[in-house]
């Protein structure tokens, strides 16, 4: 399949000043993501994962190396609008990304800026709100919504741009379990039904376990890149860089270390239940 995101030898440094030296946050990242993939990016705070995400829609530009989105170089200023239409971004704090006092106006904001004709805009706003199950709230004030609902409004605003790919930077970090579930199922549906490529930055291992592919970052480099099953089977390495593995994976690993015959690639509750039953 076609590549939607191509990152070649990406380096990025935050500029220092006369007193402080430059800080290199990304130290040579090579990563390609295919159209329609659902990729989780894991890493502890300071690993560079958010910095990487910000390169995909040109919020940051490489110090060295290249980022291409659907063939467009993010450094090409003339194509910035086109690029941001292809790659939409959702941030962590739901309160920081809502601009209007009515839900549907918020979703329409970017379309209005792009000068999309009224009929088309109406259609896209309605469809986006239905896609995130927030259509019934179209005339509400965002201030009356829960965190999970606000995040879904933010996602609707991105979908209305008909992007090829959505990058979500810890979209569930500030939400309660209910809100997390709502947002996760929305993202998974977008991926499955509309074929939108998803790059999900997260701290939650259970979320990563649901993705097709997991990229683990540490100290500005990609250290693991595989299916969640394979990535989490490196229990020791994952723990060493300050991340968790799902509890069921950890239990299986502990049992295996104690000499019991348990598969090393358990990531779901069902698999764990089966493995324990086999022991007894």
């Amino acid at each position: 399949m076609e590549n939607i995101i191509e990152i070649e030898d990406l380096h990025f440094s935050y500029k220092g000043d006369s007193e402080t030296p430059d800080v290199e946050v990304l130290k040579g990242i090579d990563l390609t993501i295919k159209k329609g993939e659902f990729v989780a990016v894991l890493g502890h705070n300071g690993s560079g994962k958010s910095t990487l995400a910000k390169h995909i829609n040109a919020i940051l530009l490489p110090t060295k190396g290249k980022v291409l989105v659907d063939g467009i170089d993010t450094a090409d200023e003339d194509k910035l609008f086109q690029l941001r239409q292809k790659a939409g971004m959702v941030f962590q704090n739901p309160d920081n990304q809502i601009v209007s006092s009515i839900v549907e106006e918020d979703v329409a904001f970017a379309l209005e800026n792009l000068g999309v004709p009224y009929e088309e805009m109406r259609r896209r706003v309605d469809e986006s709100l239905k896609a995130v199950n927030m259509y019934d709230y179209r005339l509400h004030s965002p201030s009356q919504l829960s965190g999970g609902q606000k995040q879904r409004i933010a996602i609707a605003g991105v979908i209305a741009m008909q992007p090829e790919c959505i990058i979500l930077d810890e979209p569930t970090a500030m939400l309660d379990p209910q809100g997390r579930k709502e947002v996760m199922s929305t993202i998974m549906r977008m991926n499955r039904e509309q074929g939108i490529t998803i790059v999900l930055i997260t701290h939650y291992m259970d979320e990563a376990a649901k993705c097709g592919r997991v990229v683990v970052m540490d100290k500005g480099r990609v250290v693991l890149d595989d299916t969640p099953r394979k990535v989490f089977s490196h229990v020791e390495q994952v723990k060493e860089i300050g991340l968790d593995v799902p509890q069921v994976t950890e239990l299986a690993w502990e049992l295996r270390r104690a000499g019991y015959d348990v598969p090393d690639d358990i990531i779901t509750e069902e698999e764990c239940v089966e493995a324990i039953k086999k022991l007894f």
Partner: protein
């Protein structure tokens, strides 16, 4: 005697208006001195409204809040003293930092209490130590610190008032797994030194399992339960039904039980699950 007690505590927002909503409904609760309590409930369950009563930020619509047996609203001019005795750390407390140095920020609360310089210094140093802030950081501007460090400064600021009851509203929100563990272990250090009562609000039963002696669960404005951790986990099924997340490992053992493999114990940490399974397996080998 209970350090904190509520009697028929009820709070109604916008009473008398069309938006009237009872957020806390006849809650009776006794929290004993020195306990480490996990507070759970999904958004809208009333848990935040409840904890805001404990230091008098909200006044009950009806019912009472007792601190060491005395109604905190008995004399409303004394409510400031209550706030020194019951410290509340809000969500994302790092946004409330404002002083020039870490030392001054932590000293802000104790200073307001009218303590002398020597006592303020002792408290700043001790809490900084508990929360894992190195002494050389104390002269730095808090704004130069990392997010996790800033949060610890903000928490230390409330701890330094040495409140009899310390309440933290989701102190680990937005942190990575290592950051979450670190904050919790520092709070434990403080708890061990001061033996003060601590309430921690968290969405993660997994996190709570790691520190709480008791768990308080709110649901639909009512007290769902307040009991020892293992007894609350014994009701995992019901807790799951009221929309809270039980740990993955607990779900596995619930499912095993359903399928006829009952270990007769509540399992809520990986370490315990491992020990339990290995013990059982070894027992079988012997037989």
């Amino acid at each position: 005697m209970a350090i904190l007690e509520t009697q028929e505590l009820t709070y109604t927002y916008s009473q008398g208006s069309p938006f009237e909503k009872t957020a806390v409904d006849h809650v009776n609760l006794k929290i004993e001195e020195g306990e480490m309590v996990g507070v759970m409930g999904h958004t809208g369950s009333g848990k935040s409204t409840l904890i805001q009563h404990f230091n008098g930020l909200l006044k009950p619509t009806s019912g009472k809040v007792l601190l060491e047996g005395r109604d905190i609203w008995e004399n409303k001019d004394k409510i400031r003293d209550v706030r020194f005795q019951v410290g509340l750390v809000f969500q994302y407390p790092e946004y409330q930092i404002f002083e020039e140095t870490v030392y001054k920020d932590i000293a802000f609360g104790p200073k307001n209490m009218g303590l002398d310089e020597a006592e303020i210094k002792r408290r700043v140093l001790e809490t900084a130590h508990d929360i894992g802030l190195k002494e050389e950081l104390l002269d730095r501007s808090p704004f130069e610190l990392s997010g996790g460090q800033k949060r610890r400064v903000a928490i230390a600021g409330v701890m330094a008032m040495e409140p009899k009851v310390l309440i933290l509203d989701e102190p680990t929100a937005g942190l990575d797994p290592a950051g979450r563990d670190k904050i919790i272990s520092h709070i434990k250090t403080y708890h061990e030194r001061t033996k003060n009562t601590i309430l921690i609000v968290s969405h993660s039963m997994e996190d709570i399992a790691g520190f709480a002696d008791k768990i308080l669960v709110m649901s639909k404005a009512k007290l769902f339960c307040y009991d020892e951790t293992k007894k609350v986990f014994a009701r995992s099924e019901e807790i799951s039904e009221i929309g809270l997340d039980v740990p993955q490992i607990t779900k596995v053992f619930m499912e095993l039980k359903k399928q006829g493999l009952d270990f007769g114990k509540e399992v809520y940490t990986v370490g315990y699950a491992k020990d339990l399974l290995i013990r059982q397996l070894k027992g079988r080998e012997v037989r």
